[in-house]
């Protein structure tokens, strides 16, 4: 019948696969590749900023580096990594045989390499000396991205459209899988929190990726078809672009953090050997964060001259988000309280996540205050803030998840020495890299500028050292993943982590997880 066939051989397996585990692997590998590409761009930035003055690249190329670093990391590294984890884990967590729409799943992955080849081609062309890659910042504000943009902007627009379509298809797949393929007895309020956070993330994606598509379409018609959405000369308004962009942009930052909340909520109970504290409040907190994310966008635009009532509204709404976020942090800490904790690498990353993400949350609270934002706006303080939530937040959450589930995927324990080295190097260097940015930002160093005053020199030297260190540390991750991927390491049991069986269905299947799991639905107690 071909029902229990194994995978095809060779390249065809990966091109034509509709298996959720294969596609999850593809997403994760793609994301790792983009993580290194974005990292290389960041290394160029830090090399230029190591000393004051201009040494390594010219200012225009520097702008292209900051722009592409942001785009590649956001759309190429973090988002696909989450989709990869979702593909691997959601069916196994809810007792489904696969994702609900397997062919669309294949398509939504394979759009990504196409999208990023287009974007990367403009970086390569620029490096070889032909034209410029996008150079207007990852937020691509008009008129920088319309009237004054390089020709490669059209590549960028097509590429954003493709990654948008890919994300939307991925999100639709997740929603349909969770709604229709849960095993009998797996009620919504029994779902693991990772599934919950991804369900909410998927709705955010479905709601805001089309808005991003609208924004780039308006840019395209402004550039080539005579419209004036963002052009004051034709009756448009560049500030309108910022409203549309951030209407997408703020939910987007939660798209990049909610799945990490889910990962951490899975890991902390396992290694505290206690059930998650306040499960229901976690679900409601996640949902309220998602809802609030639609009414805070103008906190990125305080300095554009909002009316006082508007500024106050967006300030209070933003501050309100710290309440559900605080609930989450409280619940994680309460889960650990009096637990019999052990500190395996996934737990170490989860703990670092809780602490460092909270630091990023606090600096976000500072930025939310309108009058204070006038000082912080467009400085390195902002850079420090969003890297704390995205690197030591989102990315650490992904690392934690990868270490947590890698033994289930491969059937072998990761190399613990290398993994521990990866954790300690990452954690030390990430703080050396981003913590001093708070101070140079408060002292007035503007972001996105390739040069700076002499008083910032010492701090920037240390920041660059932190940057290179963090970048190199990631080679350890690569080594760990390759070793485990080749099946080198101690064989693990089915439950992998002591007592994990009771925390999730994924620990009840054999290790490594067979090509097909839950072809017949499991019995849920």
């Amino acid at each position: 019948m071909g029902e229990h066939h194994g995978p095809d051989k060779g390249i065809k397996r990966w091109l034509y696969t509709t298996n959720h585990k294969d596609i999850g692997t593809l997403y994760l590998c793609f994301s790792l590749a983009m993580f290194f590409l974005g990292g290389i761009l960041a290394m160029v930035i830090r090399a230029e900023l190591m000393y004051p003055g201009l040494q390594v690249v010219d200012p225009d190329f520097f702008n292209q580096m900051t722009t592409c670093h942001g785009l590649v990391m956001v759309f190429g590294a973090i988002m696909p990594a989450f989709v990869g984890l979702a593909n691997w884990m959601i069916p196994m967590m809810i007792g489904a045989p696969d994702m609900a729409l397997p062919r669309m799943n294949n398509w939504s992955f394979w759009l990504l390499p196409v999208a990023f080849s287009i974007l990367t081609s403009s970086i390569i062309m620029s490096t070889l000396g032909f034209g410029q890659a996008p150079n207007f910042g990852w937020t691509f504000y008009a008129p920088l991205s319309t009237t004054y943009a390089p020709a490669s902007t059209d590549f960028f627009i097509v590429s954003v459209h493709l990654m948008g379509i890919s994300s939307i298809m991925g999100a639709i797949n997740v929603v349909v899988t969770i709604f229709n393929l849960r095993a009998p007895g797996m009620t919504l309020m029994k779902m693991p929190l990772f599934v919950w956070t991804w369900l909410i993330t998927a709705f955010l994606l479905i709601a805001v990726m089309p808005v991003l598509a609208g924004a780039v379409t308006m840019m395209l018609t402004d550039r080539h078809f005579g419209t004036s959405f963002f052009d004051a000369a034709g009756g448009g308004d560049p500030v309108l672009f910022q409203h549309i962009f951030w209407f997408f942009g703020h939910p987007e930052v939660y798209i990049m953090i909610l799945p990490s909340f889910g990962v951490v909520s899975a890991i902390i109970p396992t290694f505290s050997r206690k059930p998650l504290f306040g499960y229901a409040s976690m679900v409601y907190a996640t949902a309220s964060i998602a809802l609030l994310s639609f009414v805070v966008w103008a906190h990125h635009m305080f300095t554009t001259g909002l009316p006082l009532a508007g500024a106050l509204f967006f300030m209070y709404m933003t501050m309100l988000i710290s309440i559900p976020t605080g609930v989450k942090v409280f619940n994680w800490v309460a889960t650990m309280w009096r637990g019999s904790m052990t500190f395996e690498v996934p737990m170490k990353f989860a703990l670092a996540f809780v602490i460092l993400f909270t630091i990023g949350g606090f600096s976000g609270l500072m930025l939310a205050m309108t009058p204070i934002d006038y000082q912080y706006h467009e400085t390195y303080f902002v850079v420090a803030h969003f890297h704390y939530v995205l690197v030591s937040g989102a990315a650490f959450g992904i690392f934690a998840g990868v270490y947590y589930w890698l033994p289930k995927w491969t059937g072998v324990m990761y190399n613990e020495k290398l993994a521990n080295a990866h954790f300690w190097c990452s954690t030390i260097f990430v703080n050396l890299l981003f913590f001093p940015m708070h101070f140079v930002g408060l002292a007035g160093m503007p972001r996105r500028i390739p040069d700076y005053s002499w008083q910032f020199a010492d701090f920037n030297w240390w920041i660059s050292i932190g940057g290179f260190g963090f970048g190199l540390s990631q080679l350890l991750l690569l080594a760990v993943v390759i070793q485990a991927g080749r099946g080198k390491g101690k064989k693990v049991s089915d439950e992998v982590w002591e007592g994990a069986e009771k925390w999730g269905l994924e620990w009840t299947v054999p290790s490594p997880a067979p090509y097909h799991t839950f072809s017949t639905p499991p019995v849920i107690k």
Partner: protein
């Protein structure tokens, strides 16, 4: 046998459910794409109501029609308050014009009509049509700054090297916000020659020797 048939039934059911949900989600997506475009008119309305970005209403109330000027005579002048009005005007990059006010500041009482001249000169070697976009700062004063006459109401057309004097007649309403002591009216002029459709009159119709005259008509 029965089990297999049942299994098939379940599969078909799941597929139908899936399709229904997919269609709903796709409709949400299309709706949100439309919403991005709906933000454009929403933003216009919002800005005009709040004066956000110092936008001025050039369509209805903000632009005082000549017919209404008689009514303006009834306005009482509030001499207890004196407001400084500053003027800024320049040409956007790509427009080789000189655009400047005759004076950079005047003082007025709310209700008092004032005339200020602006000068425009086409420094380039070709005929250019431009449009000046006004803006008021601070923004919440925009709704109380009324213009009776302004070169920004229409596009400006200057031949190569041509110079023009353009009056702006304005007043501040009596209920002008009390917290504003100084208000700035800024103009930015943009080249819209390319966006203006040029209609050539057909040769055989015209015997009046006006061939070659063009009628400029805004296409947007």
């Amino acid at each position: 046998m029965t089990q297999e048939a049942e299994g098939q039934d379940v599969t078909e059911n799941v597929e139908a459910n899936n399709n229904k949900l997919v269609i709903r989600l796709v409709v949400i997506c299309l709706g949100m794409f439309g919403f991005a475009y709906a933000l454009v008119p929403l933003y216009e309305v919002f800005c005009e109501v709040t004066g956000l970005n110092g936008r001025m209403d050039l369509t209805a109330g903000g632009r005082v029609r000549v017919e209404d000027v008689a009514e303006l005579d009834n306005i009482t002048i509030d001499t207890s308050r004196t407001i400084t009005v500053e003027f800024v005007a320049d040409a956007a990059p790509g427009l080789n014009w000189r655009l400047e006010p005759e004076t950079t500041r005047v003082t007025v009482h709310p209700g008092e009509m004032k005339l200020v001249n602006f000068y425009a000169e086409n420094l380039s070697g070709k005929d250019i049509v431009a449009r000046a976009v006004p803006s008021i700062s601070p923004g919440h004063g925009a709704g109380y700054f009324k213009k009776t006459q302004c070169f920004c109401f229409d596009e400006m057309s200057l031949a190569a090297g041509q110079k023009e004097e353009m009056p702006v007649v304005f007043h501040l309403t009596e209920d002008f916000p009390k917290d504003i002591r100084t208000v700035t009216l800024a103009y930015k002029a943009f080249d819209i020659t390319d966006k203006v459709k040029v209609i050539e009159p057909a040769n055989d119709v015209s015997d009046s020797g006006e061939t070659g005259d063009t009628v400029a008509q805004v296409a947007w």
